[in-house]
Symmetry: D2
Subunit: 259 residues, 4 copies
Amino acid sequence: MLLQASSYFEMYADDPVTSIFMLRSKSGPAQSIRQEAFLTTPQLPVSEYIDGYGNICQRIIIPAGTTILESRVIAECDANIDVDTDAGYKPVEELPDDVLQFLLPSRYCESDKVAELAMQITMGIQSGYSQVGAIRQWCYHNISREYGTTNSSTSAVDVLQSRTGVCRDFAHVAIALCRSMNIPARMVVGYLYDLKPMDLHAWFEAFVGDRWYIFDALMPDPVGGRIIMAYGRDAADVAFASHFGNVVLTKMEVKVIKL
Amino acid sequence: MLLQASSYFEMYADDPVTSIFMLRSKSGPAQSIRQEAFLTTPQLPVSEYIDGYGNICQRIIIPAGTTILESRVIAECDANIDVDTDAGYKPVEELPDDVLQFLLPSRYCESDKVAELAMQITMGIQSGYSQVGAIRQWCYHNISREYGTTNSSTSAVDVLQSRTGVCRDFAHVAIALCRSMNIPARMVVGYLYDLKPMDLHAWFEAFVGDRWYIFDALMPDPVGGRIIMAYGRDAADVAFASHFGNVVLTKMEVKVIKL
Amino acid sequence: MLLQASSYFEMYADDPVTSIFMLRSKSGPAQSIRQEAFLTTPQLPVSEYIDGYGNICQRIIIPAGTTILESRVIAECDANIDVDTDAGYKPVEELPDDVLQFLLPSRYCESDKVAELAMQITMGIQSGYSQVGAIRQWCYHNISREYGTTNSSTSAVDVLQSRTGVCRDFAHVAIALCRSMNIPARMVVGYLYDLKPMDLHAWFEAFVGDRWYIFDALMPDPVGGRIIMAYGRDAADVAFASHFGNVVLTKMEVKVIKL
Amino acid sequence: MLLQASSYFEMYADDPVTSIFMLRSKSGPAQSIRQEAFLTTPQLPVSEYIDGYGNICQRIIIPAGTTILESRVIAECDANIDVDTDAGYKPVEELPDDVLQFLLPSRYCESDKVAELAMQITMGIQSGYSQVGAIRQWCYHNISREYGTTNSSTSAVDVLQSRTGVCRDFAHVAIALCRSMNIPARMVVGYLYDLKPMDLHAWFEAFVGDRWYIFDALMPDPVGGRIIMAYGRDAADVAFASHFGNVVLTKMEVKVIKL
């Protein structure tokens, strides 16, 4: 399916602030990028670099006053995501070197504290893809999607207590649970077609069988129509915007339409 | 200056061929990418990865028959390039680790064979930026720009004998000469506004003072209006298209206009 | 000063466990590695890879039963560390791209939660090196070094409540405080000569002026005699040993002597 | 088999020269490094970095006068190398991204000029491992091992004319031939047990089936007992020593013994 997605940010700063954005996509297994735009008002110099996960990062000095940033992408995306309940648990000793880091605890995914819960959730379930599926489903059924109950400090352990959160919180919990069972899991951020209410989205991938599979703990069922913008260990690695100073987001709009 | 640049490739293959393209740009010191498009007819899946130099590479399987590829970019570019005749020679012991590789000979730049010529050209000239400037000028005056006299096997040493070539040959000679004097030099490919006849272009950068500076041995004077697509040691690293099989380029058109 | 350092680990596992060690050093600004040994009993196959921070990692499958691992290194080390109270605060917009990641919160360093304390500690102090010095000193005076009061789940915020910990906890607090002020800070692990009681050690570096400087919140004064084994964002990145399964450390001994 | 290998270099320079060495090994599939030493007389500061291929590089400023460098390693090595004549040709479209670069021509391996010969050599031979085996054997039988007939400027095409060379020349020819058939090939440098006369050695690896396999065009038969020090595209990437200035090698001795 051909998707057009866009983000519109209106920001205000009293003083110039250095900011990093992650708003450009690379073509990959399930998406071919056709067009992109990255526009600022006023027109600002942008510098890009590749981070340690292969993401394209935009470095900008946001000037004092109001700045508008628009990012648009048109991409051909798989309408469905791969589901393979036969993909088994991959023993740690067979994992590629660069996948190992996604087994470790990270800022928002304290996998070292949730092993017991993970075992309860996956008890009796075939190891591998199906275990991750059970974790995904458990999150879907046991966490309420509520805006405003969590913030940028909220971690998986916090969410497991409050049982509320937004997409990134769902992903953090699921990632922490997977890692606690030695299943590599990483955070993914991007666009999802037909997300309601529409917003930038976060989900996760788990490494089972011989590769990464997409999972989304916020959705009742596996669904495609995704444009990936960045991968990382958790939200600390893949923030759409990191401001090293005070920037107020005065308006934000996200759109994803089918062409 | 705001530039819109585009490349149009019409290719024919008897059998499917894996190809790597380098036709997407990153924002950087002298360019801010505003819009991009990467379109194929028929629509083909694209997969992107980052190479060892930080370039964004497009991996595509070209199907049998005719394939059209269009790449477009709109970028805000510096109209002038930095010139600093005071930028001195940077002693090798003070070079950053990742710059050292650009001192070594490479496929098309046999710097180990041209030291004598480099010394002649730069005799009596202030070390650093001015030496590179002298090398650039020597190439401009001593190599004739002629299409069809060189091919993908032609190296700097070949060009020094034939004294003819296209932009990449000019760059290879200049790079080889710089490296022979222990000045790091790398190849750059992209678009140049007002190039005549218009084509994809190649030039080079040299590391003097504390950073990389742009030089173009094909031009009589330093001029900006450039959109960089890739960096590498020489043309082997930064081919716009590498086909691992037989692909015939039946038509190609490059445009760069000022918006 | 020429130092010989060694670690001896005796481990027991019921079943084979994949483990990652970080016990080899690279030569660098303040240390030249002369000799190294990495021995296991029984003799086990080792495979090494470079992680995203440039650290050399040893991947081993620990067999069932008892395994002994000995790592030794002889290195020429600077007896003193560089102190430069004039090194000023480096504005974020001037930081190198690869340093930016060390401004973000991480698993054990919740810099997003400690800004107020950081401001109190550094009030009225010259920005840059001296601020980091003040943070270091505050940690030294306000946290008690006590074994057994913290564990692998303890983060900077936890330590700020308990006010007790070991070297890594001191480093986590100091790193979180630095980052909250937009000063890049990273964790360092290795050996320290004359540490009492002797153990593997953790400290931190902060980026002020134009480079990284060493700081150690556990020591009353700046002191050298260090052999660095790994860099990372916090202890999650630079564990000496990460076991993906149950391994009991039955004995451990660390020695650092002057040759 | 447990091997102890060492290199002894005596060098003379009139003026200080920056030099890069590649004389430290990482543990890998067929070797576990037990001990290493890297000693200089006089004692010199060493700084290490990781290059784009994952090799550990030693950066040293060689002072004026005589410098001695000794590098020693003790490693457990496979006595035999894997041979798998069933490992088939891997189509380019299925190759991992980071393997693709080893299909391109490089400084010493002009694969764009030797396709015809490669086809002659491999005519009628099962595609994949056996083709590489045929190339290896052709080199063994058609190139004479002679010291002093080639130098640091000699490329595969040169060797194909002179039909003489040393180990690196054998490897360059074989690599160029493999790449001309779209089989990825890379250069390997290190120690080989029982090499006569003993010296530092160079061989190559080809990617067939699903991984890299070792081949050695200088040996009559496949043989193990190897300690790998570095990988690269050709000798330009993996020189044991690169001097950015004039350094005379006054004495060199290499030893490999079985413990």
